[in-house]
Amino acid sequence: MAETGVLKPPGVLGRLGPVGRLRLVIIAAVLLSWEALAASGLLFRDVVPSLHRVAFALVRLLASGEFWSNAAVTALEVAGALAIGGTAGVAVGLLLGGSRFAERAFEPYLNYLGPTPKIIFFPVMIMGFGVGWGSKIAMGALSSFFPVALSTAAGRRGVDRVLVRVGRSFHLTPWQMVTKIYLPAIRVPVLNGLRLGFGVSVIGVLLAETKLSNQGLGYLVMQAYSRFDMPQMYAALIVVFAAAVALNAFIERFTVPRGRRT
């Protein structure tokens, strides 16, 4: 294209590249069909409210104190869940990855339980931890434990054996072996596990909140739904979605191996 010798500075669309442009087109197409569907009135009542109503609801939602207090509850529940499930997952993963015996004895259970929908344990959690935030944290922690444990175990097994021998030849203390060899070597798989664990703990917490609760974003969504306030329900969903995407992108920044950035 630049054969004529004049290089024009690319516009915004040009700078995006073909993939970025396609993504924009997809988003625009979805929004347009949404609006068309809303205008057509084909679907029962407000199942697909028009975009400007969702936008208004979003603004109203973000301006309300009720939203922020519920969002804070959910955020704290997810943080607590990830702290508990993540810590337990890393610890169990290190044990499993470090011993062939433990791996063969226990890992099949993790592999089978991992993909099982954890919501089936919710009744147990309610009995154990009550209808408040306790059972939500328990659900999130249970959900995040599995991907973190499995990913850590795989990472621990993947630690280059020669690096361990290097550490031994330099007389590292057991603590130094952990902090200077094992942890840096498994950083990427552990963070990947935490990213997956974060995703499923959000799911676990929100799902639990929609089932039985009196606070949190899941509760808010269900409130809007029971009032048939579809615009507000969609607004809440958009906020949850945006927050999850942003946090995921944030964690991803740390999972690119150092020195391997392209």
Binding site: V162, R168, S169, F170, Q176, K180
Partner: protein, 287 residues
Amino acid sequence: MKGTAMAGDTPPIDARGPGAGDPLLVVDDVSVRFDTPQGPVTAVDRMSFDVRPGEFISVIGPSGCGKSTLFNVIGGLLDCSAGRVTVGGATVRGPHPSIGMVFQEESTFPWRTVIDNVAFPLEVRGVPKAERLDRARQTIALVGLAGFEQRFPSELSGGMRQRVSIARTLVFQPGILLMDEPFAALDEQTRLLLGDKVLQIQQDLKQTTLLITHSITEAVQLSDRIVVMTYRPGKLKRIVRIELPRPRTSDVVSSPAFGHYVAQIWGDLREEASRGMAESETAGRSP
């Protein structure tokens, strides 16, 4: 204890090191057996030799003859099935503080920059930051990597990474330097020049060095004595004293005496190497 060799059909020419004084490192009748699903494998069979203070010794043998196994035993990373290794008279029961090891495999820390890799042994010993970075920088320059301090290993060639590993071990000035085919990944020219560097460092510091290699020229270029091993089981075949004058540089490779030594050791190794090749061909594994 005596460091005299006991195994091998051919009696070793000279199992004792040059110069006076007690040997610093003694490999005393060491055997290593591995239990494999196919049955026990004797990787090292009754090896004995000793290393005097300040001496440069090479252990040479074809691939798979048990050199790395011996290296791990001397470094205290692997227990031998019989015999023992002593350093300064004391039996080795784990990594010895005065032995520095350079591994055959890629062993740099991919998450550390070159300078942080090289400073690593000083860091774990609690050397203050300014001092350890200073010493690391000097050692990096010594192996010819000045200017690459802030790079990550993934940004370097295989040969450069191996030089980082060598610098990382040299930096804490171990009493005994133990290297397992450290130059194997390098091209011939770099190998000769880096060999010069290591030799120069070794002579300057009077550092006792045990080099494991499969390269005859490398062994003759650098060593005071060469320990030749047989193939499967790894036994002591012969110990050859290299009487080439010091200081030696890579120029020595063109001298007639050098050629004489190479021919002599090749004579010893040819039989072992061809046995190794035949075996690996029938077993279908790469040498």
